[in-house]
Assembly symmetry: C3
Homo-oligomer: 349 residues x 3
């Protein structure tokens, strides 16, 4: 594919500085770009690297002095990169139809222009909407609904009566609708509580590989529009995740917790059950969230605390041995002072 610099600028709503008719054949990183390709600078720390790039043009937020190449100037070069790479790498999935090695349950409804790879199990009364792509070895339980333009990779297991929205992407090995972890103690043993709820995943959600999203005990586990999860994320029964929140790899959320919109839970964060985490909250890596968190905050540590407080405390942690020594020394010195003063003043108190 070839595009002129001006065509790319139109796509990313930027302004060309230089030859608008320059032909661009692809986009790559500063290091790997070859002649004819465009590259981008998302962070100012890469400015030096930019001087060595072999790219023929650069997407950047401000003109760089000392580089004699055409630029596209745009407010958000990273977003521009996302759009440009999508342009050059677009290859809509060819419509494969339904492979002959598909099992279709009674009452299953399959939309048009779907691509169903071999050995996909589709239960009774399942709906597969138009333009859905389902990779090999996926299993979809009775009564589940899959919305338009959704892609499900291989070895995904979606249990019965779940609802998956439009333009959803589910990566390989993910399990949706497994039983929540619910047991009632019965003297010495545990009695299983049947998990009779469901899972609802709204439009434009992307779920990473090998996630586990349990069905509600009663009611539903609910992943709202635009949520993105990374790999190996665990979401327990009756959790609700608000719009456009991000869950980075290996996050675990316990049952009945509600996460707001635009929240970011970073890697290996754990969240206790029955909490509320407010909108726009950021939780830093490995934090253990042990109570509800108000909106618009950054929290860290275990138990969690405001991030700035944690930063200060974590800087003291390596100083603990020295602090302890100083305290011991001070104790001795104060004792010595007390004795001297007592001797000199005769104060027996």
């Amino acid at each position: 594919m070839e595009k002129t610099l001006q065509e790319l600028a139109n796509l990313i709503e930027g302004e060309v500085l230089g030859d608008t008719n320059l032909i661009i054949t692809g986009i790559s990183s500063l290091d790997e770009a070859r002649e004819g390709e465009i590259t981008f600078i998302a962070q100012s720390k890469y400015l030096n690297k930019a001087k060595k790039t072999k790219a023929s043009a650069i997407i950047v937020s401000n003109k760089i002095e000392g580089i004699d190449k055409p630029f596209i100037i745009t407010d958000n070069p990273y977003l521009a990169y996302a759009k440009t790479i999508a342009l050059f790498h677009q290859h809509p999935h060819p419509v494969l139809g339904i492979d002959e090695n598909t099992i279709l349950g009674e009452g299953a409804r399959i939309g048009k222009d779907v691509s169903i790879y071999p050995w996909v199990f589709i239960g009774k009364d399942v709906t597969i909407s138009n333009h859905v792509v389902i990779h090999p070895h996926t299993s979809i339980g009775d009564g589940t609904f899959v919305g338009e333009d959704t892609t499900i990779y291989s070895h995904v297991s979606i249990r019965e009566n779940c609802r998956i929205g439009k333009r959803v992407i589910i990566h390989a090995g993910t399990v949706i609708g497994s039983d929540g972890f619910g047991f009632a103690p019965d003297g010495n043993r545990y009695c299983k509580i049947p998990q009779v709820g469901t899972v609802q995943i709204d439009n434009d959600v992307e779920i990473g590989a090998n996630n586990t999203i349990d069905r509600g005990a009663l009611g539903k586990t609910w992943i709202k529009r635009g949520v993105k999860t990374d790999n190996l994320v665990h979401i327990a029964h009756n959790v609700v995740i608000g719009e456009d929140s991000l869950l980075i790899a290996q996050v675990g959320i316990s049952g009945s917790t509600t996460i707001g919109k635009h929240v970011i839970l970073t890697g290996q964060v754990g969240v206790v059950g029955h909490l509320e985490i407010g909108d726009n909250t950021i939780v830093t890596p490995q934090t253990g969230v042990s109570g509800s968190v108000p909106a618009n905050t950054i929290v860290s540590g275990y138990p969690h605390m405001p991030h700035k407080q944690w930063l200060k405390s974590s800087r003291c942690y390596p100083l603990l041995p020295q602090m302890r020594k100083t305290i011991n020394k001070l104790e001795k010195k104060v004792k010595a002072l007390e004795e001297i003063i007592q001797n000199h003043t005769g104060d027996n108190k």
Copy 2:
């Protein structure tokens, strides 16, 4: 299904206060219950919510003043809920027989009334006992035994020569009997130690989704009766888990560690190898257990310590910067006092 209040009271060993002949059609949460349904109160903090419920009757441990509805009084409303929901949602799996897309190895023995979904691989000399249900895409290696009434969800991989008990539930994507992580350093490289042991899972165990349970190096990895694991749990080679212990999501247990009975390892706990954790121990979230733990204790932190001690220390953590400032201030003050006293007493020491 319809049951009278008295019939439900008999099931859950409770006592009816009110119309014993009232017809109940289901059970739901306080919020979601409709007329005709029964609900339950497991914790006193939900008493206020109970006043607004539309349920026709309530399971509770003591009569609630101010609510003019029939009650069933029982010691353990949560257990009563588990039993009642199981009653209303019971639908024994229909017997499907063996799907034609099943591969049966030589010498495989299949019991009666089994349900084997499409594309299940059953190796040589495998035993599948009566009433077993195996969902699509599951793989069971040579020589493995699966006990009666066990349910295995889709995409489960059970390797060769494992033993699965009766009434076991294994959720989707779980791997049982994979090689343990065993390598002997050979100068600069690692030499694989063949993992020739096995996995034994006893009766009434439930294993969550996407777990990994490695086979023994020699001997066996052993999950004893009644153990329940949540999702994404890792159990290394030669680990032993005692009866009725609970492993919450994302727990990881290193090799050759022995866990007692009725232990609770909460979310994201890690346990070092070759340890012993005593009966009835509780390990709080994200704790790193770095040494053996006696029975009947609660431990927290990393390295772990008694929970009460950790609670007190964790409350001091946010105070560290202030403590450090105070120490610095005290050092200056003590130095000043020492100088004053030296000047006044002429003590040159």
Copy 3:
């Protein structure tokens, strides 16, 4: 299989003390070994146990007084165990050929003496080299290359255009080549960044069960020769792992981080993105690596610090409440001293 003690000594480059013609029929642990078997002592703490073993001979680094059995003396008994167990348990996989339930994409090249179990999906232009074993339900995307003597267990998903080396082992449920977690904020929502890179896994790598290894955003994610990963490990896009490094269970590595050679990341370690971890570094369990780490170091804690410093600080942590009390007491004492001195000296400062 039967071997003389001398034959075993030759294999493990050791020296026999005792009857070189003694017949050995197997190897087992100190506890489980029976007459006719050999056992081994890898750590001196097991010396007492050795006195009770029923084994007929012992592999050990030094003669043990008080045990009247033949020994094989060798520098590295653990390595000797690995080699001996491999000898007694060797059973090369029988060549099964290609199961009839295999889907082979156009242009796929299959080597000789392969074993492909049922329901393996092989995409277009895939290469499967000689002696490869692929267990049931595995899926290999278009253009992927699998090297000689590699074994892939069941339910593995390898996406398109990946490169897997020789003698690689990939355990069940692992996902290789899934999209990296890349999104550009677009005002309130996120725009997906197509992940157009790949994954390269070099020779002699072993990948545990239910791992997730994302493809590069641009360029590749690269697992170099001899790396071994345990279960449930997450490796993000464009990570590079150096030769012979070990990643223990539930480790997570964020995007574009480079790990050196012979590094050991122990259980539940998390590593932030865009870092460099030097050769021979050891990271202790649950550590959060938040910045680059020089070679040949041991680090612990979160944020990470030198292990020895962390050890000292972690010993102070349980003492925090006592330290705080002492500080408060000292404050009062110093204040009292200041008042006494002020009264006695009339010093108003």
